[in-house]
């Protein structure tokens, strides 16, 4: 439980307007796409038409002779730098070297005076390939005669985010394997009163951040400066320092506003390539990908899951077993961590005595997969929560009551070795069920469901910050957390204003410049409020302590005689604001005090996960039996967030996540036919639109101050996605009696299932 349960909040727990509101509604917010540097050139990328091929030769002479072209960079031109990067597995060359591993891989880059010239010169590059046998699914990758995608040995990257070794590069196409086991699964299944078993497929999906990947690099003889749309500037810095073999201090990543991420902009993407272009062209270079190119850069891991779940005669879940094959594509990126997380997330949020989950991801000749909102959880929550409904039906229980009976309880150590559960699933489920009208009569062809998920948040506690209190009492927060839209520029000032007793309007945020802002490991895994929020709280208190000592100095008393009050200090009758303390201390109306905080895996952050990210969602759908089309009648989200620093922002994260989850449940899916991605464009990849809005939406938060973050806060913003596909599959079963074990549940799939049922 949280150490402090404060309730009389002045600034925190209020839905204050977003700090970035005015700049974003007036078009003045700057993204990397909007930036230009003096003397800047532009790059365009030539991509492989083949899924797997040797590069025999590249003739770039005609392209380099094209007027306006500064240079052409290929995999043959990278002597002098370390061209392979990757924070977990260093398997990704910044341009294809010797061979290409997926259709769409970067083979060469043209740097020219403008984008159009660079684009024209691309077709003057002549590449000779020798096609190799390609593999596209984990099953093909696991076959005995499968070609090996990576022959090199790999060392595990120190910042991979988990403790085990990496499996990649050990003579097979397995990129990563992970297994969890406790109890005696075989015995439990033998003794079970009822068992549900099935095979499931969760598709490849595309995050579609509306701002495609973009970066500007300026590499001179000893320094690398990059403006990027990256979520995690410090992780990208780590890769760049290794590519150019430079000290950390010589690599600077600057991230202004980011136009959406959802995990797709986490870790390193195009930055090494742009930096290599600038290094070769000897001037700043900008590379802005198109959406089609972004779709050839990152996707989510698709997953084939076999799962079975057992209950005893009392309706208690006694065992779960799963074997998962994930498809990580051509390069590891962050998929090793996705494998670990999806393995763990097969269990939660239920207390199950016997568990065996085996999971491997495979290299294939497809677009590299990496982080995606929910981080492997949605992939396994489709099977997990589908089986909960199926089991309930099999033993004649109400699926909502069945969940209530089996959900992990507050404080329960339901996952061996992990932090006891810090949410209240009973309240989450009750709230969701009430919101969708649980128990009320349903119309024909309607289905109503609730589902839950509980994720061991991937938020690793390594975060620091500095808070500068200025002589006029205004405050600057220096944070490595990136504003992706989630609201860090609003939430962090709310915490500082609450602690320091200064007006919210007087707190400014400077973010994500690795040369200026203190280290923060990443902006992802719903970590910012909990970890950076804690750092801001501690740094504010550190500044207060320093100002108490300063006040004692100027008032010529002992620090023990000074009492900190809201916005300043008191000593007997004397009362000084922070501004007065600082001005008197320096004897000038200027200067500042710097509070700082370092968060590490220690104290209340020593148990992992730092928090369990829990949420319930509920929905009511209707199915048109003629066409198989599903309509969302009602949608409810319940975020178990401990305490919402800004409730409107927390609810906004939930509905955003649930809508992405709904998209995957209904129509989002990247489709490969042979070696080619056939719907790799926004014309063909179906996204949720206004007309897909559920007819009724209810957003709820459960705030029991049970997290380790500031005032009991926990992370949110992913969990409402995770259970949506399962919710839709369960609701379809309820509405029309067909069980579909694959997302998305497109009209065609529902229609075919209905046809099969009638036949």
């Amino acid at each position: 439980m949280s150490a402090e349960k404060k309730t009389d909040f002045q600034v925190v727990n209020h839905s204050l307007p977003r700090r970035d509101g005015r700049v974003k509604v007036t078009g003045k917010a700057q993204y990397v796409a909007d930036l230009k540097l003096i003397g800047m050139a532009y790059a365009k990328v030539l991509r492989s038409p083949y899924a797997h091929a040797k590069i025999l030769s590249i003739d770039k002479s005609r392209a380099e002779a094209h007027p306006g072209v500064h240079c052409v960079v290929t995999g043959f031109d990278l002597d002098g730098i370390n061209p392979y990067y990757g924070h977990a597995v260093k398997d990704h060359p910044l341009l294809a070297i010797d061979k290409v591993r997926y259709a769409g891989e970067s083979v060469a880059a043209v740097v020219a005076v403008d984008e159009r010239t660079a684009f024209e010169a691309l077709e003057l590059i002549e590449v000779k390939y020798e096609e190799l046998k390609a593999i596209f699914t984990p099953q093909e990758a696991a076959a005995k005669d499968a070609p090996l995608l990576h022959q090199r040995q790999f060392e595990a990257g120190a910042l991979r985010g988990f403790e085990g070794d990496v499996t990649a590069g050990k003579g097979s196409n397995i990129c990563q394997s992970h297994k969890i086991q406790w109890g005696d699964v075989d015995k439990a299944f033998k003794e079970a009163a009822a068992v549900i078993e099935g095979e499931y497929y969760f598709p490849m999906t595309y995050a579609y951040a509306m701002e495609p990947y973009v970066a500007i690099a300026d590499v001179n003889y000893q320094e690398v400066t990059i403006y990027s749309s990256a979520q995690h500037p410090f992780m990208v810095r780590h890769d760049l320092k290794s590519v150019f073999n430079l000290p950390v201090s010589s690599v600077r990543l600057i991230v202004p506003f980011v136009g959406g991420g959802y995990g797709s902009k986490s870790y390193t993407k195009i930055e090494p390539l742009v930096a290599a272009c600038s290094w070769k062209a000897k001037r700043p270079v900008k590379l802005q990908l198109t959406v089609e190119e972004a779709m050839l850069t990152t996707r989510s891991d698709d997953a084939y899951t076999w799962m079975r779940t057992a209950v005893d005669a009392n309706g208690k879940i006694i065992a779960r077993q799963a074997k998962i094959m994930m498809n990580t594509g051509a390069y590891a990126e962050n998929s090793p961590l996705v494998v670990e997380k999806s393995t763990n997330r097969c269990v939660g949020p239920y207390a199950i005595a016997n568990v065996l989950i085996e999971n491997s991801s495979y290299y294939t000749n497809t677009v590299p997969a990496s982080s995606y909102r929910g981080f492997g959880c949605a992939q396994v929550t489709l099977p997990g929560e589908s089986q909960i409904d199926e089991l309930a039906a099999k033993i004649g229980k109400d699926p909502y009551e069945f969940r209530l009976a089996n959900a992990a309880k507050p404080g329960e150590e339901f996952f061996p070795g992990m932090r006891p559960f810090d949410g209240t699933l009973k309240e989450d489920l009750e709230t969701a069920a009430k919101a969708v009208g649980w128990g009320k009569p349903l119309e024909k062809n309607h289905g109503r469901t609730v589902a839950v998920s509980g994720s061991d948040a991937g938020a690793y506690p390594l975060t620091s910050t500095a808070i500068r209190v200025h002589a006029d009492g205004s405050v600057t927060i220096m944070t490595g957390s990136t504003e992706l839209g989630q609201g860090s520029h609003t939430v962090l000032p709310q915490i500082a204003a609450e602690e320091l007793g200064v007006p919210f309007e007087k707190v400014r945020v400077v973010s994500s410049d690795t040369a200026i802002t203190p280290y923060d490991r990443s902006t992802g895994a719903s970590r910012t409020t909990t970890l950076m929020g804690s750092a801001v709280l501690e740094a504010s208190r550190d500044a207060i302590q320093q100002m108490v000592v300063m006040a004692a100095d100027v008032l010529k008393v002992k620090p023990e005689q000074i009492q900190a009050v809201r916005g300043g200090v008191r000593c007997g009758e004397a009362q000084l604001s922070w501004s007065e303390v600082i001005c008197k201390f320096y004897a000038l109306p200027d200067g500042e005090v710097i509070g700082r905080a370092y968060i590490r895996k220690s104290g209340k952050f020593s148990a992992l996960p730092v928090f369990w990210e829990a949420a319930a969602t509920g929905c009511e759908i209707s199915v048109d039996e003629e066409t198989g089309k599903i309509s969302m009648e009602k949608l409810a989200t319940v975020g178990d967030v401990g305490l919402a620093i800004n409730p409107a922002l927390a609810e906004g994260q939930d509905i955003g996540a649930a809508t992405m989850g709904m998209g995957i449940g209904l129509f989002e899916e990247l489709i490969y036919e042979g070696s080619q991605l056939v719907n790799g464009s926004i014309l063909d990849y179906r996204l949720p639109r206004f007309s897909d809005l559920p007819k009724q939406v209810e957003l709820h938060l459960v705030q029991n101050q049970d997290g380790v973050g500031p005032y009991g806060a926990k992370g949110g913003g992913e969990a409402s996605l995770n259970s949506m596909a399962a919710n839709i599959a369960n609701a379809v079963d309820q509405a029309v009696g067909v069980r579909i074990r694959q997302a998305p549940l497109t009209p065609e799939r529902v229609w075919r299932a209905l046809k099969e049922k009638k036949a």
């Binding site: 579609y208 136009g259 959406v291 809508t659 206004f690």
Partner: protein, 159 residues
């Protein structure tokens, strides 16, 4: 080629290439970066600007087609005294954006709707806005913001 048009109420004359899109001229030549470009195929609506009050996708609308016409971009909505357009204020009040990348196009599309139909129903809002994609908000607060702006505009016109 020479091109002249009225941009946010002011006469503009410039040189451009025949193949330049309106988005390129706005962003690259005029350094007006409020108009965002995303899909480049008229699907997402991020680049929406108004030409003679009608919403167009600046990513594919050739700049020369705007010759001698009135073009309105997101930069043209704020009054000179700093007062925001009711839509801009409503987007802030309803938390109708997160990353903000779709927001200028979203607001311009909504403006075209309210200019034409000051009291739209929820269904009319959804129908009109269906060509604008937002990946962050789930659209719920955007519909609320447009409804709120419509009310604010109605109140203002009664004064």
């Amino acid at each position: 080629m020479k091109l002249s048009f009225r941009l946010n109420g002011k006469a503009i004359a410039l040189e451009c290439e025949p193949a330049d899109t309106l988005a390129e001229v706005l962003r690259n030549t005029l350094n007006l970066n409020g108009t965002k470009v995303s899909c480049e195929v008229q699907v997402c609506g991020a680049c929406t600007v108004l030409v003679e009050g009608v919403p167009v996708s600046a990513c594919t609308y050739l700049a020369y087609e705007a010759r001698d016409k009135n073009v309105t971009t997101i930069e043209g909505l704020e009054k000179s005294d700093g007062t925001l357009h009711p839509l801009q204020q409503a987007f802030i009040d309803e938390f109708a954006f997160q990353c903000g990348y779709c927001t200028p196009g979203m607001i311009m599309s909504a403006k075209a709707l309210l200019d034409e139909n000051p009291k739209p129903t929820r269904d009319e809002i959804i129908h009109h806005m269906d060509g604008n994609i937002c990946r962050c908000t789930g659209y719920v607060p955007i519909v609320a913001a447009i409804e709120r702006a419509a009310e604010a505009i109605a109140k203002e016109s009664k004064k």
